[in-house]
Amino acid sequence: MKDDLAKLIDHIEEMRMNRRAFLNRTAAFGVAAAVGASVMGSEARAQEPKKGGVLKMGLGGGETTDTLDPGLADSPVPFAVNRQWGDTIVNVTPDGQIEFRLAEAMESNADGTEWRFKIRQGVKFHDGSDMTVDDVVATFKRHSDENSKSGALGIMQGIADISADGDSVVFKLATGNADLPYLLSDYHLVIQPKGGMDNPTAAIGTGTYKLVSAEPGVRYVFEKNPNDWDANRGHYDGVEIIVINDATARTSALQSGQVHLINRIDPKVAKLLGRAPGVVVENVSGRGHYVFIMHCNTAPFDNKDLRLALKWAINRQELVDKILDGFGGVGNDTPINAAYPLFTPLPQREYDAAKAAEHYKASGHDGSPIELLVSDGAFPGAVDAASLFQQSAQAAGIPLEIKRVPDDGYWSDVWNVKPFCASYWGGRPVQDQMLSTAYLSTADWNDTKYFNPDLDALILAARSETDTAKRTELYAKCSEILNDDGGVICPMFNDFIDARSEKVAGWVKDPNYEMMGGWATAKTWFA
């Protein structure tokens, strides 16, 4: 009875989604106004942005120790804060295309070793000064400095030279990179006056909202930037970010109407929350994935058959159903999924105890328990996921021993250190960046200790390949190699799950990151 009711409600939810999808489709033909006004009433009128009001966001993932330097942003709250006051030169749209922001045009030479970005004129920083090409150059130089602690240092390292030429910025690369615009959309690369060289934490930029006050780990207040260069965004008079790290406190703050948007909903409560009055849960499948990683250079994981045995011994669908409560998708053993441009699907690897047992036998493993280190800090539900993995592996005759370790220090003492553990990747905008960050032999974060010259050659060849068909083929090969030989077991891709008050209109699903890729405050409005 209860289940039926739940199903019915889910069904109604789906109907609502369809109606919205229908509206979007009709809008494309320019008939939304006519059809909407007569049939849909308020729903269609809500498509027209309204101005005013103060939007309050309750976000998890902020600490007292956060700084305002955009280069050091490494968690959801600093990310959201930077999105309010700053802009990058380009941005990745929800459908994976490059959108011009502070740049207004770009061109590259044939082999992708030289790129020119024409910088938008007449844009003013919050302090009233003009944004110039020199500011842009200085920003990129700051983040590419060897001693910089910037989170974007890794992606800036392939750039040999940055210079100004008239109203353009010119990047010269050591080796060609067809993905450079995607790399430059990185959220750390916020354009600051003089590149933020003299004061990286001033929080002065060209963004939609100006910072009024900041209390790290507690609260940030912004007001509308009256001189915003982009008239199509910024419908609120102001924005408040309230740091709420406790998940229950976040959901109750939304339900009691104290905040209008919250992030990081626990999948286990997402469906329940969606049934609460006045609340809409917004989930979008992203590139983030929950993984178990094996060090391919350490016994017993240096044996390909043993790796394959473990890959076949995990029940992916069960993990998606039980750990993500359906808010996600199954993965193959590669970090790449359909959310990436140039994706080629592989046959889905299912749970197959017989195949797992066969490979386990072929590996010649002595049958001693294989130790898997987990902590819920690796990803939410990691300990439960490991138990499910243990059971499905047991059925294939593979003994796993789960060792639970503390959250505290997990990323320094266990991840990238121990040979078999649970982990999480947030994903990257393009395949090259994801593969180069974690699967190139030389990568700092090669957390599967996978050293394969063939894969390295493929990644580098794809990077400078400008022919899209050939690139797609090269990336398909990369995924194939990782799937058959690599050290990553990637059972599931998790959704970003946010929730909004019904009052917030104009929400768009953006797989780039939570909160509409960080642009929720700029692009939504109060209905």
Partner: protein
């Protein structure tokens, strides 16, 4: 000849300072045996051996622990708590705001809880073993037995989400009026009051009942005084010492033990500040917080001792 009370008080204060010193040693040793290296946790995964060595030297981590302890202690004695390793902020300034918030919350919780507990205790004694006594005991025992975070969530569900009387998150910031602030902290205050009420009320009841057995109370009854006058005028003053001890213990708890309540209501107090910095291995901040907590605890206990000495007529009027 020094007045014996003064002598006792001076003794107590001296003892308190000694205790605080001992606590500072414990805090320092405790932070030294925390797993993980400070330099490693500041620099993160990308640390090279050279930059690690540089940072260790810069932070003075290569000195022997005893030297570091005395360097730290001399700084503290001069009022310099140092700077936070993780973000370079001056600890005293950053912590001052947080401590102010924590004390504000504790103050208002205490203002409500202490008189309420004593009055409820008096009522319990007056109607001993009858229904008001049983009701008060039952309710306060229930609220003290349920963990605070659960009381907090239950309160949020009914008072904030369903009825929408109070805000579910206690967000306080500069520029709020006193009224706005009080409204913002209403939920944590309610939960804290419920958490400490039971203990103080039970102690008041027990202490007064104890005194009620005395001969002079019987005399007062025979004089024909009303039941309530006897309790309030004759029994309570003599039960002050044990009650004050429990009150102070609970006040100290309101300051140092509210981490969980701060998390549930997202209140920017000391608890949240401490937890964030423990996670980042920001040792100077952890040490400073530990020291402040120890000082509050020892200070309030000291005060309790002095008050119970003063409440004892035999000590107040020496022969």
């Amino acid at each position: 000849m020094v007045h014996p009370i003064l002598k006792l008080v001076v003794q107590r204060v001296a003892l308190g300072i000694l205790l605080l010193l001992a606590a500072s040693v414990l805090i320092f040793v405790g932070t030294q045996i925390l797993p993980g290296d400070v330099a490693q946790s500041i620099l993160g995964q990308s640390a090279t051996p050279v930059s690690l060595a540089n940072l260790r030297a810069e932070l003075g981590l290569n000195d022997p622990p005893v030297t570091r302890y005395f360097n730290w202690l001399s700084g503290v004695l001069q009022g310099d708590l140092g700077t936070a390793l993780s973000n370079g902020q001056d600890i005293a300034t950053a912590m001052g705001r947080r401590l102010g918030n924590t004390l504000f919350l504790a103050f208002w919780a205490a203002i409500i809880a202490v008189p309420l507990a004593i009055v409820l205790g008096l009522i319990s004694v007056r109607y001993r073993d009858r229904w008001p006594d049983k009701l008060i005991s039952g309710v306060t025992l229930a609220t003290i037995s349920v963990p605070e975070f659960l009381v907090g969530y239950i309160a949020v569900f009914f008072l904030a989400v369903q009825l929408q009387w109070f805000p579910s998150i206690a967000s306080v910031y500069d520029g709020m009026t006193l009224g706005e602030r009080l409204y913002a902290i209403s939920m944590p205050v309610i939960v804290l009051v419920l958490a400490v009420l039971g203990h103080m009320m039970r102690m008041t009841r027990a202490a007064i009942l104890n005194v009620m057995q005395s001969a002079y109370v019987e005399t007062a009854e025979l004089k024909g005084l009303s039941q309530f006058t006897i309790i309030a005028r004759h029994a309570l003053p003599n039960a002050v010492a044990p009650v004050v001890n429990v009150v102070m213990l609970n006040l100290a708890y309101l300051v140092v033990g509210v981490v969980v309540v701060e998390v549930v209501f997202v209140y920017p107090g000391m608890g949240q500040y401490l937890v964030d910095h423990v996670a980042k291995r920001d040792v100077p901040v952890v040490q400073a917080c530990g020291l402040v907590f120890a000082a509050v605890y020892i200070g309030l206990n000291l005060l309790a001792d002095v008050i119970s000495i003063l409440a004892n007529p035999r000590l107040r009027h020496p022969k």
